[in-house]
Symmetry: C2
Subunit: 343 residues, 2 copies
């Protein structure tokens, strides 16, 4: 089923598909054409396409234009960062693609996987390739939630030449106020995509998401979750890729209907203030716990501005802020302190 | 010399001194009276007094009042948090005292010292006592710098009953714009206090401060420094305490003259914006690198609101922000990228 659904995406010549991207892909187009059936080519094409589709959908609703930065990494690879700041609808919207390669130490390779498998490299070095698309969208209106997604692929070559590979990713929503209808739409869209591939995926990856996006020192989740998975290397590479492809295709239908629905919602100063406090918590999660950010900040040669693109334009920290009992702010906190099933 | 200078502070009866504090001290007053010559009593009195002197000086210039929270820690000890938020002069001013005790694991004890000494506990447990005063003041006016100080004392009891103790602390300034005169005043006041105790202290602790308050992923220091030291256990307990006492007495004279000087400086929206960006960097340092914050967030039973009190009320993250060449913002960045000698 899933193969049929996604086939058209991969049809057509590479050059032609590249014309629709926000910029040239990270790898040379000739090189991509020369290895067009390899997974790293198919994945790079997919993440570039996901970036373009999402950016264009956001530009359409906002009326603004993304600033596109194509950058190179001295140690190998590079990326394409698209940012729209202070738009009509979006306070800060970032959609980043990166494709990096080089050599990992055995220690670093171990840390890249969430379940640490011991890897054996040639003279302790492991050639690797890591690529992904990631995005965080912070709207101005407190009734439009923040969304985040990230889909990634890793390849590591061991001493004996065998290749270890896996996919990871997820999409999650961070509203400022609880809206049951939005939450259902978001989770249900993800569940439908998951169900096409494995009956356990949504259940397992929803739980993983709530666990991952947890601000331990606050005892609350960052948002109302979605799905999150890592180390996916089953049942086989083709099917794992197809699942990731299905996920990337949900990004626009998960989020854009919610944006349009609340586009003209009016809001008060108090609601804006609560949004700013939640943005502060978003910063806390990203700087203190997020594995991607921590890995990025500690990696020499990483592009800091692309990593910290996920931070909101503004955030707020009030001492001892506690919402009034029975308020909509208290309702939001209750959900963050005790994650719900939405579907 | 220093003994003479500070003696009057310790004169007078404990009960009488407590009357001037922001609240009752953390330890029971009767208990303090019963062990009045012990270092942990003298230090608790000193940090409570430092808190009161600093808070009162800030209240005088602002016209506002500190909110005082006295809190207990289930595992032993507690603290007194004083916060003034959205005052006339100060956006957020926090002055916190904490006095905690209990048992440390050998692993945790090792982490508390910046040079990790292996400690031997009874059945792996080490009774400890940790206390300190710490403060971060974020003013509204971008021409008034942010100040931070922290003075602390640790005691750990080893298996054989011997007590290991040390002091740590420092005071540092984070301006939004370079002001040579302010920088000189701040550093010189600290240098004069240091010079009374050891001719190397200022030089060594100034360097340590620049090294500690370094935002590695940005390649810039948090501010223009001051002094920072840890593990101070020489030449003897009395003299180390006297040095810390001299440091705590510089807090008001280091900072308040700078506040009064710029109290009525006018500022533009652009200057306010640059302040907000610098506040964002302050958040990055505190959440990603600060040892105290990391230790606090990872410690069960710690009071999160007192730890994160150091965060500004508001912060800002603009993608790829780079000041115009030759601007006062660029001048500030230059100093943060290449720390200067101010005295």
């Amino acid at each position: 089923v899933s193969l049929d659904a996604v086939k058209p995406q991969e049809e057509g010549d590479i050059l032609e598909r590249c014309r629709g991207f926000m910029s040239d892909p990270v790898s040379d187009i000739k090189e991509l054409q020369g290895r067009k059936d390899e997974m790293r080519t198919r994945m790079e094409m997919l993440i570039m396409q996901t970036q373009a589709e999402f950016c264009k959908a956001l530009e359409e609703v906002d009326g603004g234009t993304f600033k596109v930065d194509r950058w190179a990494r001295k140690e190998g690879g590079g990326g394409v960062s698209c940012v729209m700041q202070d738009g009509k609808v979006f306070e800060k919207a970032g959609v980043n693609v990166s494709v990096v390669f080089g050599n990992l130490t055995e220690e670093a390779a171990k840390q890249m996987r969430s379940r640490g498998k011991v890897l054996k490299g040639k003279d302790g070095k492991l050639p690797f390739c890591a690529m992904g698309v990631s995005s965080v969208i912070h709207p101005k209106n407190p009734h439009i939630p923040t969304v985040h997604f990230n889909y990634r692929y890793f390849e590591i070559e061991e001493e004996d030449g065998s290749k270890l590979w896996w996919f990871g990713g997820g999409t999650d929503l961070t509203p400022v106020y609880v809206n049951e209808e939005d939450a259902f739409h978001f989770h249900n869209t993800l569940k439908e995509a998951c169900d096409k591939h494995h009956s356990q995926y949504y259940k397992d990856f929803k739980k993983w998401c709530d666990k991952y996006f947890y601000i331990r020192h606050r005892g609350e989740t960052r948002g109302i979750g979605g799905i999150f998975f890592d180390d996916l290397d089953s049942p086989n590479q083709e099917e794992a890729f197809n699942f990731v492809k299905s996920c990337t295709r949900t990004v626009v239908p998960c989020y854009l209907p919610i944006v349009y629905k609340h586009l003209n919602d009016s809001f008060t100063d108090e609601e804006k203030n609560w949004q700013q406090i939640r943005r502060g918590r978003y910063v806390e999660f990203n700087l203190v716990y997020d594995r991607g950010v921590k890995f990025g900040l500690a990696t020499p040669g990483s592009r800091i501005e692309s990593i910290l693109m996920s931070l909101p334009l503004t955030g707020r920290w009030e001492y001892m802020h506690e919402p009034t009992k029975g308020s909509r702010e208290a309702e939001m906190l209750k959900v963050l302190r005790d994650p719900k099933e939405w579907v």
